[in-house]
Amino acid sequence: MSSAGAPRSLASSGQKSIQDICHPLSAEESALNPGSAGLILPNGTPVDTSSPASSSSLLNRLQLDDDLDGETRDLFVTVEDPKKHVSTMETYITYRVCTKTTRTEFDLPEYSVRRRYQDFDWLRNKLEESQPTHLIPPLPEKFVMKGVVDRFSEEFVETRRKALDKFLKRVADHPVLSFNEHFNAFLSAKDLNKRQGLALLTKMGESVKYVTGGYKLRARPAEFAAMGDYLDLFTQKMGTIDRIAQRIIKEQSEFLMELREYGPVYSSWSSFEEDLHDPLEGVSGCMSNCSSALEELTEDMSENFLPVLREYVLYIESMKNVLKKRDQVQAEYETKLEAVVFREDKKTAVPSDVEKCQDRVECFNADLKADWDRWENNKRQDFRQLLTGMADKNIQHYEKFSIIEVSMLLKLLRHPQNQKEINNIKPI
């Protein structure tokens, strides 16, 4: 990544690769330099923080990583090989998490660790805590109703695996989140000592914790207001779709109940018929098969469609929290700025804490905007996948159905009486 063509670039970054530059927004850096008013690059050049363009332009360049083909990607993560573990206390599933990377943040180029859902949940929480200005990708739902869904069925486990895989890939592709040390630990540590995170957190100190509450926001910038409104409407629509899907499941289940009654009735009919015995038995068998096909379709709706919908609703909740935090950060800045402006007599430089607040606001806004775009893309992908999946399942169902009916039809037509008539008719 050369500096040529980059707007207001950091001239000294020409020789070093992106990976070697400490992320300017990395919390650790500011903790290590408590005294500096601004951020300093490892090579000594101060980062111009007074204009948000500089930090966000760096962000933009880092963001380009996303759109590059696999060659320039330097971190590959997969979730595979689910296995059941039975212990005296509990039964649970673990997944193998494989990592391949050339990043120097990692000690080794390859890792293979086993993680369970709890660990993923821990990771997400840690990311939310340590990167509050970012939108953290969603996880599949934590709780599943026991008795309604079989947590150890192949289908359920596979659906979960895919969702966990998507989660890690999205984190890995994120220019900021992928450098998070909790993520690093998750991918590499042999034993994930979850208390490790706590220690790191206290080390990082106050600068990570944003003060919430107490400040009143004057004017929410239009684009963030729009985001909030959109999320509200979007949640509404998701709720409606959830309800519709549930109703369909209910109606299909009740239809299934009736369908199941057909088989035995046709069977008992065939028992007192002579010539019609075979055809009626055939119809009975056909009805049973149709019942199974419908059952599969309904199950799939419950196990694959609804959970994804619900995950998104939960995810949006966490997104709204991030928006709220942003509002708080802006409110704090505005309040503090007002207080300063008030004191006209003091011709001192803008106090550093107000400056820091301004930084926070601008960084937050930049992070959020970038992540929002990323989120929009992901959302589009996710829903395209979800809905085409639903369409596919319905198509498959009807195809199964018609194959069953066609085979029944062929059996019915194979009667010798029909054969005689068939032979007498000329084709058209």
Binding site: Y262, V265, P279, D392, N394, I395, E399, V406, P427
Partner: protein, 440 residues
């Protein structure tokens, strides 16, 4: 893709006419082929019959009250082989349901050994919620029209019933037909026979074959009733499934309003969901065809049982005649030889109060002789009646069995084809929706 090379298509509206057209299976075209009437029929060879229309009429009924009723237009046209190319004139007349009933009752009484084709149901039964139970409902009237036509065609293709004069007049003489029917005096026979049939009587030596047939009729009626009940409930549920999908159409439309790039795909997908929801009406209408075909055999089962009961009646009457003859012969013997074998009050009283005079005995013996002669005649008659009945009935039962097997098989075939067509439509709609989702 479905892996079959040939598909035989059949059309369902004339269940007892078979039709087969074979063509290579083409996923884009699953329309039924042409109907060929390949059953040899008596009256149908000479004329075409159809119930073309239905109309509402108002008039005064028997108790002089205003009533609304429906009349059906029966059209007939002679089938003239010589005049190919020219269209001979159509004859037509109007009849209402009660006249059809009258015709059928006449046939039942006049041809007791026949399995008389049934009429479509008097009132709508086995309905699901969207289907009206109202006799005036246009859908019901339409289905009844089809059922009445079916009835006429079945009678016209029956080897015995088709040559009946009253039936012919029903089709051709609008006025005065009712009077002609009553003139036959069938009602008198009908009343007495009906009373007898409703009475409980025991046959000493039931004919095994008829007993089995009656049992078969019972079972057939029971199983078809069950089937129709399940179908009605299933139709309700299926309707629900399809209609709820229509809600997707609305929410996708609302959702598309707040999206940028995803909007178009969502909106058009929503339209397909609406189309999907609407498609259930056609599907259930076609299924109603199948239900109607089953109903016909439900009522046929009833006709079968009725005929078996009639046979029981003839046999019972024969047994009664034989019994009567035997007892008379016994009386004769006792009187002649003076021995009393069986207990009789007369015997006791005569023992108590003295025997009767030789003249009285002579008179009695003479009376018994005539009675025995008459009795023997009656037994001979009844025997012959029974034999005739059994012979003719069994011929018709065999004919009926073949017809039933053929028709029900046809119904199952057309049901399967209808289901396949439903699947095709479903696949198409979801494919369309999928295309739209892909464009999101």
């Amino acid at each position: 893709m479905l892996a079959c090379d040939y598909l035989v298509c059949t059309q369902a509206s004339f269940p007892f006419c078979s039709l087969f057209v074979i063509h290579k299976y083409d996923t884009t075209n699953l329309t039924p082929g042409i109907i060929y009437n390949i059953w040899d029929t008596s009256l149908l060879k000479k004329m075409e019959i159809s119930v073309a229309e239905a109309e509402k009429r108002t008039g005064k009924n028997a108790v002089n009250m205003q009533e609304t009723y429906t009349v059906y237009l029966i059209e007939t046209r002679p089938v003239d082989a010589a005049s190919e190319g020219t269209n001979p004139a159509l004859d037509s007349l109007w009849r209402r349901y009660s006249e059809f009933e009258l015709l059928r009752n006449y046939l039942l009484v006049t041809y007791p050994f026949a399995v008389v084709p049934p009429l479509p149901e008097k009132r709508a039964e086995f309905v699901w919620h969207k289907l009206s139970a109202d006799n005036m409902d246009p859908d019901f009237v339409e289905r009844r029209r089809v059922g009445l036509e079916n009835f006429l065609l079945r009678v016209a293709s029956h080897p015995v019933l088709s040559s009946d004069k009253i039936f012919y007049l029903f089709l051709t003489e609008e006025n005065g037909w009712k009077e002609t029917v009553f003139e036959t005096g069938f009602q008198a026979k009908a009343d007495s026979r009906l009373k007898a049939l409703n009475a409980t009587f025991r046959v000493k030596n039931p004919d095994k074959r008829f007993a089995e047939m009656k049992h078969y009729g019972d079972e057939l009626q029971s199983v078809i009733s069950q089937l129709l009940r399940v179908r009605a409930r299933a139709a309700d549920r299926l309707y629900g499934v399809y209609k709820v999908h229509g809600n997707y159409g609305r929410v996708f439309s609302e959702w598309s309003a707040i999206e940028k790039e995803m909007g178009d795909g969502l909106q058009s997908a929503g339209h397909h969901m609406d189309a999907y929801a609407a498609s259930v009406d056609d599907i259930l209408e076609e299924e109603e065809h199948y239900a109607d075909q089953l109903k016909e055999y439900l009522f046929y089962a009833d006709a079968l049982r009725y005929m078996c009961r009639k046979h029981e009646l003839t046999q019972y009457e024969l047994e009664m005649a034989v019994q009567d003859l035997t007892s008379k012969k016994q009386q004769q013997e006792e009187l002649a030889t003076g021995t009393i074998r069986t207990f009789s009050l007369k015997g006791m009283t005569s023992k108590l109060f003295g025997q009767e005079t030789p003249e009285q005995r002579e008179a009695k013996l003479k009376m018994l002789e005539t009675q025995i002669e008459e009795g023997e005649e009656q037994v001979k008659e009844r025997n012959a009646e029974c034999d005739e009945f059994v012979k003719s009935a069994w011929v018709d039962i065999e004919r009926f069995k073949e017809q039933k097997d053929h028709d029900l098989r046809e119904s199952l075939i057309s049901y399967a084809i209808m289901q396949i067509s439903m699947c095709k439509k479903g696949i198409q709609v979801w494919n369309n929706a999928k295309e739209c989702f892909n464009k999101m």
